[in-house]
Every structure is written in structure tokens, then in C-alpha cells.
């Protein structure tokens, strides 16, 4: 059966085996501790629906690659919003902030003819400044973030219009910028990226595992660690395989293969922010302030500074979202970042499992939730419905995906807590 071991200050504990670990995992799932499982389930259901309805187009390599490029703006804004939502705040202005930052970049590139390595940092800096202002207004003046960012939502809309001189579009021609959300890595680089990614993941997992074992702390069974690494490797390599297939529509004219450049960009930010939230003091404090602001204050955490910082991160991420969407569209107009972008981004974070009340959420949730939203958008356009019906269906499909999630949790809750 189970064997015991001595750990953490000489306390007797059970040493988990692979079997007991898996048993416990299922008990936990049944107990309602589901993490991203329901959102992933929802995603699978969606893929199934669209895959059946439009198998040859939805499931094509081309469409798979398109998904990444299409999701970039929402995923980036959603990643930033996770921080704000973790504190139980909201940022309604993130969409237009991304538009403003995109416009700043476009203007510097086009009107002022500056190179991308000036324009992109300038756009990011704009994002940071925006976040700083919002954060200070919320944290120091104590105006509810809904109101501050509603004002900013209106204000930035005006700024964008003013920057674009009342409604012009600005097109960009810089090849580097355009490649960000349109280009692909070469096939060789795609594989190198996949291998480095998987190796990094494996190293991090093994390093942590060894650390705990050597300290005599209870660690996961080695089998589980290996299985997890193998799972990630399988996912990464099969995705890379599909992405390196030829997917040009007209193979005679051109060739199109390789991982979209936006994939490594998303992965890098995913890794950085996951690290920040899970492994640094700052991240810990973000969760603490979101979970119980008063407790955090009493523990000596500089609550105001944390509050400001999440707005800075959010607007910064929005600026990257803006850069990418401008890259994809090769232009910026007064509606860039408007429309449903904001609601979709918040929706992405929430569908992934982030709580609007603070304290609960992970960066990966934004990516998975963003995937749900984009798969719906992408799939719906493939169905070729007329506008009214399309809106209705989009709503219904979104609801269906969320119900899978809710029902999974509910079933779990019924048997567990």
C-alpha cells in the first residue's frame, strides 16, 4: 500500500505512488477542484462541433495556423486583464488602450518614418504610462476602477480619433512589424523552437522535483513528472508537425509553412507571467491582495503599489495586443481595439476560469479562454450564416461552451464540497 516517509520538520507523511497520485487527482476533480479542465472540455466540444460541420476547412492546417494569428490581440489583452481581475478590479479601457498604442506605433512608423525598434518600444511605453495613470487614479484617489476605466474608455476613443485626425486610417508598411502577426518561422526554426520549449519545460519540472526530493519534502511520483513532460512534448511536437505542413491555398504560386511568429511571442509572455505569478513574491502578493485586501495590508504588503502595478501590466499587455493587431491588419483605424474586443477579452479570462471577484486565476486561463472565443469566431465565419443568425449562434455556442464548464463544476460540487 502506501509507504510513509519523514519530511518537513520530522513529520510522518504518506509517500505518494503513481497510483495514489492519480487516485487523488480524480478525487480532487470529483471534489470540484477542476482548474482549466472544464474550459478545455468546452474547447474540445467546440472543435468537435465545427470540425463536424466544416471538416475540410475548419480542421485544415491553414485554419489551425490562422487561429493563432487571429487570437493574438484578445489573448494579450486577456492576459493583462487576468492581473487586474485577480485584484477584483476591471479595466474597460484595455481595448482602446491597445488601439491607442497601436496608433502610436503606426504614426511613428509611417508619419514620422521611424524604424520599428523605436516605434514598438514607444508603443509599449505608452501602454505603461496609461496603466500608471489608471492605477494611480484607482489606488490613490480611490475611484472605483469601473468608473476610471469607463472614463478612460471614452477618453482613449477620443485620443485615437484625434491621433488619426478624425477618422483617417494609417497603413503601415514596415516589414518587420507586419511579419509579427502575419509571418511564420522557417520549418527548421519551428522545430528548434518546439524542442527548446519542451526541453525548458522538462528541465523546470525535473529541477523542481529534484529540489523537493533532496529536501526530503513530499514530491510527486517521478512517473507523474515524466508523464506530464511527455504529454507536453506530444502536444508541442504534433502542433509543430501540423504547422510545418504545406498550407498555401495555391501551392503553385507560393509556399506557406512553419509556426506563426506570434506563437513564440505568446508562449514567451505566457511563461514569463506564469513564472511571475507562481514563483515570485510579487505574484504571491497579487493573489493575496485579490483574496483578502485587508489581510494583505495587515501582512505589510504595499497594497496600493500592487494595485497600480496590475494596471500597468494590463495596459502594457494591451499595448502588445495593439501592436499585433496593427501588424495583422497592416493599418490602424479609429475602431482598432473597439467593438467587442474588450468584452471578448474579459470573457476569455472569465471563461478560462478567472474570477471577477479577485484572487482566482492564472495566465494560462486567458490563453485557453481566448482559444474558446477565437474558435467560436473562426468557426462561425466558416459556417457562412447571415449576420443576425450568426450573432444568435455565436451567443448560443458561447453559452454551450460555458455550460459544459458550469455543469462539470456543478457535478463536481454535488459530489464534493
Amino acid at each position: 500500500m502506501t509507504t510513509t516517509t519523514e519530511t518537513a520538520g520530522g513529520i510522518q507523511v504518506v509517500k505518494p505512488t503513481v497510483a495514489s497520485y492519480i487516485r487523488d487527482y480524480f478525487a480532487r476533480v470529483r471534489g470540484g477542484d477542476l482548474g482549466t479542465l472544464p474550459a478545455v472540455l468546452g474547447l474540445l466540444v467546440l472543435v468537435l462541433i465545427f470540425g463536424t460541420a466544416r471538416s475540410e476547412t475548419f480542421l485544415s492546417a491553414l485554419n489551425f495556423a490562422n487561429l493563432f494569428n487571429q487570437s493574438a490581440q484578445i489573448v494579450f489583452i486577456a492576459m493583462g486583464l487576468v492581473f487586474v481581475l485577480l485584484l477584483g478590479e476591471i479595466d474597460l479601457s484595455a481595448g482602446f488602450a491597445s488601439g491607442v498604442c497601436g496608433a502610436v506605433m503606426a504614426i511613428l512608423l509611417t508619419t514620422h518614418g521611424l524604424p520599428w525598434y523605436v516605434a514598438i518600444p514607444a508603443a509599449m511605453a505608452t501602454g505603461i504610462v496609461i496603466g500608471l495613470v489608471l492605477g494611480v487614479l484607482v489606488a490613490k484617489l480611490g475611484i472605483p476602477s469601473f468608473v476610471v476605466t469607463l472614463a478612460a474608455f471614452l477618453g482613449f476613443q477620443g485620443v485615437l480619433l484625434t491621433l488619426l485626425e478624425g477618422g483617417k486610417n494609417i497603413s503601415i508598411t514596415d516589414e518587420f512589424v507586419k511579419s509579427l502577426n502575419n509571418g511564420t518561422l522557417s520549418v527548421r526554426d519551428s522545430w528548434i523552437f518546439a524542442v527548446i520549449g519542451v526541453a525548458g519545460f522538462a528541465a523546470a519540472q525535473l529541477f523542481r522535483w529534484r529540489g523537493r526530493v533532496s529536501r526530503n519534502l513530499v514530491a510527486e511520483p517521478f512517473g507523474i513528472v515524466v508523464a506530464r513532460i511527455a504529454g507536453v512534448a506530444l502536444l508541442a511536437f504534433s502542433a509543430t508537425y501540423v504547422l510545418t505542413l504545406e498550407r498555401a491555398v495555391n501551392k503553385a504560386i507560393t509556399s506557406l509553412k512553419g509556426t506563426p511568429i506570434v506563437v513564440p511571442i505568446i508562449v514567451v509572455f505566457l511563461v514569463i507571467w506564469t513564472f511571475v505569478l507562481a514563483r515570485t513574491t510579487y505574484g504571491r502578493h497579487v493573489y493575496a491582495v485579490g483574496g483578502n485586501t485587508e489581510a494583505a495590508r495587515r501582512a505589510g504588503i504595499p497594497v496600493d503599489r500592487i494595485r497600480i502595478s496590475v494596471f500597468v501590466i494590463c495596459s502594457f499587455m494591451a499595448s502588445i495586443g495593439g501592436i499585433l493587431v496593427v501588424s495583422r491588419q497592416s493599418s490602424v483605424d479609429p475602431n482598432t481595439g473597439g467593438s467587442n474586443i474588450l468584452l471578448y477579452s474579459v470573457g476569455a479570462a472569465v471563461i478560462g476560469g478567472t474570477s471577477l471577484f479577485g484572487g482566482k486565476g492564472k495566465i494560462i486561463y486567458a490563453v485557453i479562454g481566448g482559444a474558446v472565443i477565437i474558435v467560436i469566431e473562426n468557426g462561425m465565419t466558416l459556417l457562412g450564416l447571415n449576420s443576425g443568425v450568426k450573432f444568435i449562434f455565436t451567443g448560443l455556442v458561447l453559452l454551450a461552451a460555458a455550460s459544459v464548464d458550469a455543469l462539470a463544476r456543478r457535478r463536481a460540487a454535488a459530489t464534493g464540497s
Partner: protein, 267 residues
């Protein structure tokens, strides 16, 4: 007193995910008696109470009320049976005032309009009977009350009604000397009026002062349920900390009592 229990639990099991908190727990509550439920921190006392009142669903076991087997899905069902509970985590609405909290779910009405005047009068009387003297106004929000004041409001809320069984989970933990005495007296009075009372407490003096029976939980198992007169102070403490005392209690095998620093920081 009466031979048939008012409320009887048998074979209650309860798990939270992989953690089993209650193992085959039985408990009998007799009318006109105070049953003290004792046990170490984390023994499962509060969990048992929440299973009775329908906050948690039970995994296995039966609940019998006045001889009928019942299923309690939620606190409404429990209230309908006449079971009132003062929870350890008080669960007051911070955005409501004292009177509003005390009458929550049982508001007095004139037609469809709330009868605030009557409620205020009744609340005032009840609080006075519990020796609360420092409340500045009955219309104070409970969020601004001191720990003991909140505790008193929660107690007053539960005993205002005509119920059959009253369960109090550490009701005197935050109370002052005078208030504790009043509450213990109240507990005795409720039992004397024929109610079944369950009192959870860590204070052995209080337990022996008012209770007729003592039930001891040890690591989620019912170690013993005995008459208070049949045991000594130190025997009860032994039951609490070791699960057994002489021929009382659980068989001498060790259940899993350890800090188990389980796998990873899976959140």
C-alpha cells in the same frame, strides 16, 4: 429523560475531495437534554453540524428526526424540521444591521410591509437578556460590531424562534465572562423547555456545567457518547486528545494522524 432521541445520526461519512473528514459517525440528541459535542481542533465537529443542517451533503449514513428518516438538502429543510444552528463561522450579513440580521428569513410583517417597530422591540429585549450592554444602537451594521457582539447577535438570531433542536457551535468562544454565563444559562433553559440542545465547546468547565451527555469526536470518528455524570474531566480530555480513555473510546489502532505534506502545490 425521554428514551427516544429527537435527532439521530447513523453512519455519517463525509469527504472533501480526497480527504475523508467524517468516518461512520453516529450521534443521538435527546429532548430536554444538552448534548456536548467535544473534540480536538479539526476533529470534524463543525463539519458534522453542517451535515445536519444541510449545508454539506452527506456521502453515506442516515439522519432520523423524531423517528422519521429525513433528508436535509439545505438549511431551509433543517429550519422546517425545527433545527436551529449557531455556526462557528457566524455568517452574518455585514451590510445589514443588528435587527435585520436577527430576523433574516423570518421577518415580521404588516401585510407586505416589514414591521420594523416590532422587530426592533423584540431584538432589544433579546439582546438585553444576553447581557449585551455596549451596543450603541440596534441599527448599527453588524460589520462594525466587536467579535463578542457579533457572536451574541448570531446566538440571539437562533434562539428567537420556536425550534425543536438547537445546535450551538462554540457559541461562547468570543464572549466575556458575564455573557458566557448568560448563554450557558440560556442553553440550560432551552433544554429544560424540552428542546434538544447540542453544544460544541472546547471549555471543559462549560461542558460539565450544563451538559447531560458528552459525545467525543476523534479525528472524524465518534470515540464515545456517554452521560456527563459517568465520566470525569480528565477522561473526556483523554478521549479528545487520544480517542480513548480506559475502556471508553476507539480501538487502539492509529488512524492517520499526521501532517501530510502532499504532492506539489497544485492549486
Amino acid at each position: 429523560m425521554a428514551a427516544t432521541p429527537l435527532l439521530e445520526l447513523r453512519g455519517i461519512d463525509k469527504s472533501f475531495g480526497p480527504v475523508q473528514v467524517l468516518h461512520d459517525v453516529g450521534l443521538s440528541v435527546y429532548p430536554g437534554e444538552v448534548t456536548a459535542l467535544v473534540g480536538d481542533n479539526g476533529a470534524g465537529k463543525s463539519t458534522l453540524v453542517k451535515c445536519i443542517s444541510g449545508i454539506y451533503s452527506i456521502d453515506a449514513g442516515t439522519v432520523t428526526f423524531e423517528g422519521r428518516e429525513v433528508t436535509v438538502h439545505n438549511p431551509r429543510d433543517a429550519a422546517a424540521l425545527g433545527i436551529e444552528v449557531v455556526y462557528q463561522d457566524l455568517a452574518l450579513c455585514d451590510n445589514l444591521d443588528i435587527v435585520q440580521n436577527m430576523f433574516l428569513g423570518r421577518e415580521k410583517k404588516h401585510g407586505i410591509v416589514l414591521d420594523e417597530a416590532t422587530m426592533e422591540e423584540m431584538a432589544g429585549e433579546t439582546l438585553r437578556s444576553l447581557s449585551v450592554r455596549t451596543v450603541k444602537s440596534l441599527r448599527q451594521l453588524v460589520s462594525s460590531l466587536s467579535g463578542g457582539q457579533r457572536q451574541t447577535v448570531a446566538i440571539a438570531k437562533a434562539v428567537l424562534w420556536n425550534s425543536r433542536v438547537v445546535i450551538l457551535d462554540e457559541p461562547t468562544a468570543a464572549l466575556g465572562v458575564a455573557q458566557t454565563a448568560q448563554v450557558l444559562e440560556l442553553v440550560r433553559r432551552l433544554a429544560d423547555n424540552g428542546l434538544g440542545v447540542v453544544l460544541i465547546s472546547h471549555n471543559m468547565n462549560d461542558v460539565f456545567a450544563v451538559s447531560d451527555r458528552i459525545a467525543a469526536l476523534y479525528l472524524g470518528r465518534m470515540a464515545a457518547q456517554v452521560k456527563a455524570a459517568d465520566v470525569t474531566h480528565s477522561q473526556v480530555v483523554e478521549l479528545i486528545t487520544g480517542g480513548r480513555s480506559g475502556n471508553l473510546g476507539l480501538p487502539p489502532e492509529r488512524p492517520s494522524d499526521f501532517i501530510d505534506i502532499t504532492p506539489g502545490e497544485v492549486k
